[in-house]
Symmetry: C2
Subunit: 341 residues, 2 copies
C-alpha cells in the first residue's frame, strides 16, 4: 500500500455475460476523514459473493443498486485506525461493507452495519462462517430445508462457500446421504474426503441425472440450490415425497438473465407434494449472535469445517470476484489486500 | 338407458393436444354382477376434472395410468341396486370412481373408496363441494396458502370448480382483495357479482400483468394456480413479500407437456422470500369428515356458494371432459347420465 493513497476499484461498466476485469477502473483517492459517528477502517481482507454481480447490474432486488463510478461494494475485515464513534476504539478489528478499497469511513448505520470481530477469531472466519455466508448456509439448510434424520440431501455449487457448509450442516442435523454437485474432480474429491459429503457429482463430466439416480435411489428430500438452470430441473425430477427445494442462489442465471429458462419440471412440486422456497439472509441478520453461537460450537468440536481460498494482492480483487463464476475457487473466496498496520 | 345394457366409453387413444371425442370408443357391455363384498351401482351423475387427462395419457404421477380399451375413469354419484356388502344397502346413494358407464361394481377397497351420500345432500354437492374438488380448494387455500386478514389473493382458473371455491374461502379467511383470472367477460362478471371476488381479469382480452399491478398494487400474498404457463410467470413477477404460491393444477401444460416452459421468474421466490408448494388431495382424504363439516357450515350459512354446470345425456360424457380444457364450463362440470331407478 502506498502511504496516503486509498486504492480503489470503481464500477466502470455493467457486466454483460461473464464479469471482466475491464468492468472495473483502478483509481487512487485520498484517504477519507471520518465524519461524526464514523470510524476509519484499514481494510485487510475482502470477501466476494455471487450476489455482488446483481449490484453491478444495478438490480435493486437485494439492496440498492451500484452506480457507475462508485467504489465496488464488498464485505471486508480490517482494523479501526481512527474513530469518532464511542463504540469503536482504534485497534479494534471490525467487519463491514468496506468495498474494493484500502480505507473506508463507516458509521455502522442502516444497511451498513459495522461489527467487532471478537479477539481470537481469524478474519477469514469472521468474513465467512460467522458472517452472512455462514448464516446463509445455516439458516437456509436448517430453517428452510428442515433436515431430519435419514434424509437424502443434494447440494449444488457444493464446493462453494455456502454449499460446502450447507452440506455439512445437513449431516450434523442427521442427514445420512449428502451429495454435492461441483465442477471438477478435485472439488468432488475434496467434498467427500475433507467435507464429509457421502457422494459428489462432477457436472462437467458426469451424466448428472444418472448419477443423482444412482447416488440417491429414493430421491432427494432436500435440494439446496446455488445454481439454477439445468441442475435445478434435474433435481426437481428427482425429488422424494414432501421434498424441500431451498433456492439459495442461481449462479447459472447470471450469464443470461433474460434468456434463462425456468424450471420445466416445476410441476414435480405437485407430484411430490414438495415445496420450493427462497430466502435472503439480510432478513435474519438480527439473529447473528444466535447463529454464531451454534456455528462456533460446531467449529470448535470439529464437526464443521471450512476452507478459504485466498488470493494475495489488491490487484486481484476483480479476479477474485470473477472466480466465483468460473469455478476458480474452493470454499470462500477472499482477497488479502493489506497487512495489519 | 337401454335395459340390460351397460353403456360405456372406453379409452381409444392417448390424447395429443386437445382431447377429442375420437379418443373414446362407445361400447355396450352386459350389466356386471357384483362379486363378494361388492355393490352394483347405477351411475347417475358423473363429475370430470383436469387430472383425468393425465390418466388418459397413462401417466402414473397421481394414480395408476389408464390402459387403452379400459372404461374411462371418473368420479360419479348414483344408487346401490344390488349389494354383497353389509355396509351398503339397496337404495343407498353413494359416490365413487364409477367411470364413464351406467353401472359399476365396486367394493370400496384401496384406491377405490365408496362413500355414502348423506340424506338431503344433493348429488351435485356430493360430487363437488363435499368431494375431492371441494377438499382441494379448501385444503390448498387454507393449509398451503395460509390466508390471513388483509391478504391480497390471486386465483387462476378462477371460474373453474376449484378456483371459484378457493377464492371464496380466502375471503372467508379474511383476505380483503381476491382477484380471479378467467377466460370470458361472462365468467369475470360472475366471479365479482355472484362469487364475491373483488376483481377479475379476462386473460383473453386483458393485459394480465398490467391488470394484476392495477388491482393488486402491493403484490399478491397468495397465488392459487390452476393454470401454469404465462400466468404463473406473471404472478411470480407480482408477489408480495413472503408470498405463498399454491400449485394446484397446470391446465395450460396439458396441451404441450414436453415443450411447456418452466416459470422463468421462479427466482422471485428469493427476492420476495416466497414459497411455491404443490399438493394432491388424495393424501388428505382421510380428513374428509373434517373438511365436509367446515364446508357444510359455510354452505349452510351462505358464505360459500357453488355452481355446477350440468350437461344432460350419456353421449355428452366426452364433451364434458373436453369443456374443462376449452373453457366451456363455469363451476363444476357434471354430466347427468341416468335418472333415479
Amino acid at each position: 500500500m502506498t502511504d496516503g493513497v486509498n486504492r480503489q476499484f470503481l464500477l466502470a461498466a455493467r457486466p454483460e455475460g461473464l464479469i471482466k476485469v475491464s468492468d472495473f477502473t483502478y483509481n487512487e483517492a485520498e484517504i477519507p476523514t471520518p465524519g461524526e459517528g464514523e470510524v476509519l477502517v484499514r481494510n485487510m481482507v475482502v470477501g466476494v459473493e455471487p450476489a455482488l454481480r446483481g449490484q453491478m447490474e444495478g438490480l435493486t432486488n437485494y439492496t440498492t443498486g451500484l452506480q457507475l463510478g462508485e467504489v465496488m461494494r464488498a464485505g471486508g475485515a480490517g482494523q479501526v485506525i481512527a474513530s469518532n464513534n464511542p463504540n469503536f476504539q482504534v485497534g479494534d478489528m471490525v467487519q463491514g461493507m468496506f468495498g474494493f478499497q484500502d480505507y473506508a469511513c463507516i458509521g455502522g448505520e442502516g444497511m451498513m452495519p459495522l461489527a467487532k470481530i471478537p479477539e481470537g477469531t481469524p478474519l477469514e472466519a469472521a468474513l465467512y462462517v460467522f458472517g452472512g455466508t455462514g448464516f446463509t448456509a445455516y439458516y437456509g439448510m436448517t430453517e428452510i430445508g428442515l433436515p431430519k434424520a435419514g434424509d437424502a440431501v443434494l447440494v449444488s455449487g457444493a464446493a462453494g462457500a455456502v454449499g460446502s457448509l450447507a452440506g455439512q450442516i445437513a449431516r450434523i442435523k442427521g442427514a445420512t446421504n449428502v451429495v454435492g454437485i461441483a465442477g471438477s474432480e478435485e472439488k468432488c474429491k475434496w467434498l467427500v474426503e475433507e467435507m464429509g459429503f457421502t457422494g459428489a457429482i462432477n457436472y462437467k463430466t458426469d451424466d448428472i441425472d444418472a448419477r443423482v439416480k444412482e447416488l440417491m435411489p429414493n430421491g432427494c428430500d432436500i435440494f439446496f440450490d446455488n445454481v439454477g438452470g439445468e441442475i435445478l430441473d434435474i433435481a426437481l425430477d428427482n425429488l422424494a415425497m414432501n421434498a424441500r427445494v431451498v433456492i439459495c442462489g442461481g449462479i447459472s442465471r447470471y450469464e443470461d438473465r433474460e434468456g434463462a429458462a425456468g424450471p420445466k419440471n416445476y410441476f414435480s412440486l405437485v407430484y411430490k407434494r414438495a415445496r420450493m422456497e427462497g430466502f435472503i439472509i439480510i432478513d435474519n441478520m438480527h439473529r447473528a449472535a444466535e447463529f454464531t453461537e451454534v456455528l462456533a460450537g460446531w467449529i470448535n468440536d470439529g464437526s464443521l469445517k471450512y476452507k478459504v481460498d485466498v488470493l494475495e494482492g489488491f490487484e486481484n480483487l476483480p479476479q477474485g470476484l470473477i472466480n466465483l463464476f468460473t469455478g476458480g475457487n474452493i470454499g470462500k473466496q477472499l482477497i488479502r489486500i493489506n497487512d495489519p498496520a
